[in-house]
Amino acid sequence: MSKTVAEKILLEHSDLKEISPGQFVECDIDLIMVHEQLGGRIHKEYEKLGIDYVWNPNKIFFILDHWVPAPTISAAQMHQDCRAFAEKYNFIHNIGMDKGICHQVLPEMGFSRPGMLIVGSDSHTTTYGAFNCLSTGIGATDVSVVFATGKLWFKVPESFKINFVGELNKGIMSKDIILKIIGDITTKGAIYKSLEFHGIESLSIDGRMTISNMVVEAGAKFGVFLSDNKLENWIQKRSKEEYNVIHPDKEAIYEKTLEYNLSEISPMVAKPSSPGNADEIENVEGIEIDQAFLGSCTNGRIEDLRIAAKILKGKSINPKTRFIITPASKEVYITAMKEGLLDIFINAGAVVTHSTCGACIGGHMGVLGEGEVCISSTNRNFVGRMGAASSQVYLASPATVTASAIYGKITDPREVL
């Protein structure tokens, strides 16, 4: 039977000869990513199993990123619990707290490759789909199951084929594409589905990661890109491991096919308090903001910082507005430093922080006060997501966030580029 990418990868990781959508299958997991959840619920659940081993300490990627460096005593204690667990079970890939945000660091280190099946204790684990593999988020108890057995059950998903044609115009980014898609299909439109992206050649790897990252905001289980030369060059620079690229069969069956002409996409903004509340920038331009935030696993990559620097160069941010920039990883931070981007940011009045999930989750390094308005390059604008319950978050591309920081109000980036 003809297969989608998701069907092929799940079949290869099962002991079955044939699978089809709707079927439940048990699969072998290639890699599991865990962060502070290890010290939240995972370690307590795992200890209940009464075993003194994990299935494969070489297939666990453990990193601290949400609250680093620890802003509170309780966060510090959570980190202590995490580290103690990682030492007790001899984790090989104990990445620490200085490298950056999980979904940026794991690919940078070459851990996400075509054909793999990866799970993680974070809903944005879908990000690795940009690398032609299947990856998705799971909760603490499922993590415990994988730690103990290396296996997990999956329901084989139906797939949506999303085909891109044309190229993005100046000032438009892949964030605008994914906000447009979520707005169109709604936050429940892809529950349990695999989104398979075709026509991807014009998109950068950074841009693909932004799209895969946010498919979960439409409810999707996977957001998988096809492979091309651009991807293979990227991976070969970062990994010596062998891999097999996975293409869908020509006759693969898709529940839906959607086509987007990228040249027709304009800057998009998701209004409070849902990522699906997307609107074109014309309809929100001029809304005053207290804070602009550039960072996160969605949009803290070098491409994002480069466009911000291009827009900011020679300008200053609005004196009434705070602009906080959090590079997604140490590698991104160092690259930005070498390219002189940090000078531009700091001289314009922005605050540059170390890599952390902090502001995005209302944890630290940019928490919003009562009634404050923020435009943010992150992925969620739920009530109270970045701070006080009465604060409001508008989601947008790094270009739109930066342009808005200059004027202190939501601004179309095409006007300043």
Binding site: F24, Q37, G40, R41, E45, K48, L49, G50, I51, W67, T72, S74, A75, Q77, M78, G120, S121, D122, S123, T125, T136, G137, I138, G139, A140, T141, D142, S144, V145, A148, T149, W153, T187, K188, I191, Y192, G219, K221, S274, I361, G362, G363, R380, F382, V383, G384, R385, A389
Partner: protein
């Protein structure tokens, strides 16, 4: 866990994990402290109003957002017996079953089907919810057998512990 009894507590569409457990609670070391903050931003009286043995009846896309399993665990601590929703976010549904709370998908319901405080009786084996207050029966698609088994064991950790000790 075939027959489940409880009183309905109604919630709306798109209740997300940040609504259920805001991120400022996530570093709390005592899960009971965290449970006191359940839904504090969108329904500040929830913790006072919810009783042990309640059954939550919600709209679409329940549990959308984060993978934080705390968003299921707080309901367990508060004694919620089951959650009925028009649809569930994928990770949330898995988390519910894994910690031993039945997640029941009922694609259609309205105020004629359930109101706050209605006395409900759920049969997982038969796929039927009996609303004793309104004297009506509603059918739902039964869970796959392997998920019912996890619920009967009180969650997947209990089930796995037995398997590993063999």
């Amino acid at each position: 866990m075939d027959e489940l009894n409880g009183f309905a507590y109604i919630l709306g569409d798109d209740i997300n994990t940040d609504d259920i457990v805001p991120s400022h609670t996530l570093t709390m070391r005592d899960p009971h402290e965290m449970a006191k903050c359940t839904l504090e931003f969108i329904d500040p009286q929830f913790v006072k109003k919810i009783d042990k043995g309640n059954i939550i009846v919600a709209g679409e896309n329940f549990g959308t957002g984060s993978s934080r399993e705390e968003a299921v665990n707080v309901f367990k601590i508060l004694g919620v017996k089951a959650i009925i929703a028009k649809s569930f976010a994928r990770i949330y549904f898995r988390n519910l079953i894994n910690v031993g709370i039945p997640g029941i998908t009922l694609t259609e319901w309205n105020e004629n089907t359930f109101s706050k405080g209605d006395n409900l009786e759920i049969s997982l084996d038969n796929g039927v919810i009996f609303n004793k207050t309104k004297n009506i029966k509603v059918e739902f698609t039964k869970l796959p057998e392997f998920l019912t088994k996890i619920l009967n064991e009180g969650g997947i950790i209990n089930q796995l512990k037995k398997i590993l000790s063999k």
